[in-house]
């Protein structure tokens, strides 16, 4: 997956699944949208579907420190590169 494809898919997930209105890639998800750890776990499930692969516990824990959509794009990009 290219970075643009990852970003487009993540923006769709944030709009459709998490019901964010006009998410900005640099928004602090917790502060601006009330994104919490339950959301993070659901997002990880969506990322697993997106990548077609299960994530390890260490990979999941790393995701808990991510704060913005751009950081999530970086995170997914690095996951995708290790799996390609």
């Amino acid at each position: 997956m290219t970075r643009d494809e990852i970003k487009t898919e993540l923006m769709r997930i944030f709009r459709d699944v998490f019901e964010f209105k006009n998410p900005d890639p640099n928004d602090n998800l917790r502060d601006v949208h009330g994104f919490d750890s339950v959301d993070a776990i659901e997002l990880l499930r969506e990322i697993e579907i997106m990548l077609g692969a299960r994530l390890s516990r260490e990979e999941k824990e790393k995701a808990m420190d991510v704060r913005t959509i751009n950081q999530i794009v970086d995170y997914v990009e690095s996951l995708a590169s290790t799996r390609s």
């Binding site: 009330g34 919490d36 750890s37 339950v38 999941k60 824990e61 808990m64």
Partner: protein
């Protein structure tokens, strides 16, 4: 003896009765725990193959005993618990919150239960350990509680499928006036994550028995405590039309309608 003296005597008698009931209940909570339950907790800790289940069962029995004692010591408080409530399994339960007694009542009703507790409680030396061992979930996932939170939420699906319940007070705190405050999304997100039905409960008058901010139980007043199942919601989580906000709105309306009755 004139009316004011009588009133004063009645008030002091009532205060004394409340004090005795409170001391007996706290006695059960402390000495009763040590004498009747602590050994079982230690055994569960050392030998149980599934500590979490064992601790939940022990908590359930401990609070069942507590409320049996409450019924004996405060007979003026009548209890009306909807017979459908104790049969609830494999659901996310949401309930309004008016007293510290509310979570304890739900623990006394469900042998297999989990709930979300304030993260600060997990830091308390003994109590925090009990919460962890009972499989309760911290409300935030900061610092050291992060791993615990992930572990519990990830295994919640299996837990609910095996007949457990997750009960949550979505207002997050006790209502000071009985009105329903704004709801937190957590319970609904977990329900969506696990694709489970939501049971909406309504509790009433536990705050008459144990008033917020008061040490003594209010044992000597006529009161009826009720716990009702007011709705079962089975959302179509797969539908594109599904919305957490709408679901929360529906639950808020149900609770508010119930609150405005009586």
């Amino acid at each position: 003896m004139d009316r004011s003296q009588n009133h004063c005597l009645t008030r002091s008698t009532k205060w004394l009765a409340d004090l005795v009931v409170t001391l007996l209940l706290w006695g059960y909570y402390t000495v009763g725990f040590l004498v009747f339950f602590s050994l079982f907790y230690v055994m569960a800790y050392l030998f149980s193959k599934n500590r979490e289940t064992s601790f939940q069962r022990l908590n359930h029995r401990f609070y069942k005993g507590f409320f049996s004692l409450v019924r004996v010591l405060a007979p003026q408080h009548k209890w009306r618990i909807d017979s459908d409530v104790s049969g609830i399994r494999s659901c996310v339960i949401v309930c309004n919150h008016v007293s510290y007694l509310d979570p304890l009542i739900l623990i006394s009703l469900f042998e297999k239960h989990k709930t979300i507790a304030k993260s600060s409680l997990f830091k308390l030396p003994l109590f925090g350990r009990m919460l962890r061992l009972s499989g309760y979930i911290p409300s935030t996932s900061e610092g050291k509680l992060k791993e615990l939170m992930i572990q519990h939420i990830e295994t919640m699906n299996d837990y609910l499928a095996a007949g457990g319940n997750l009960f949550i007070f979505p207002e997050g705190t006790r209502s000071p006036d009985g009105n329903i405050g704004s709801l937190n999304k957590g319970a609904f997100k977990i329900a969506r994550l696990c694709r489970t039905p939501i049971k909406v409960l309504f509790v009433r008058n536990t705050d008459v028995l144990f008033r917020p901010g008061r040490f003594l139980f209010n044992a000597c007043v006529p009161n009826t405590i009720t716990l009702e199942l007011i709705e079962t919601i089975e959302p179509d989580y797969q539908s594109k039309a599904f919305s957490i906000s709408r679901l929360m709105g529906q639950v808020h309306m149900l609770l508010s309608t119930q609150s405005s009755r009586h």
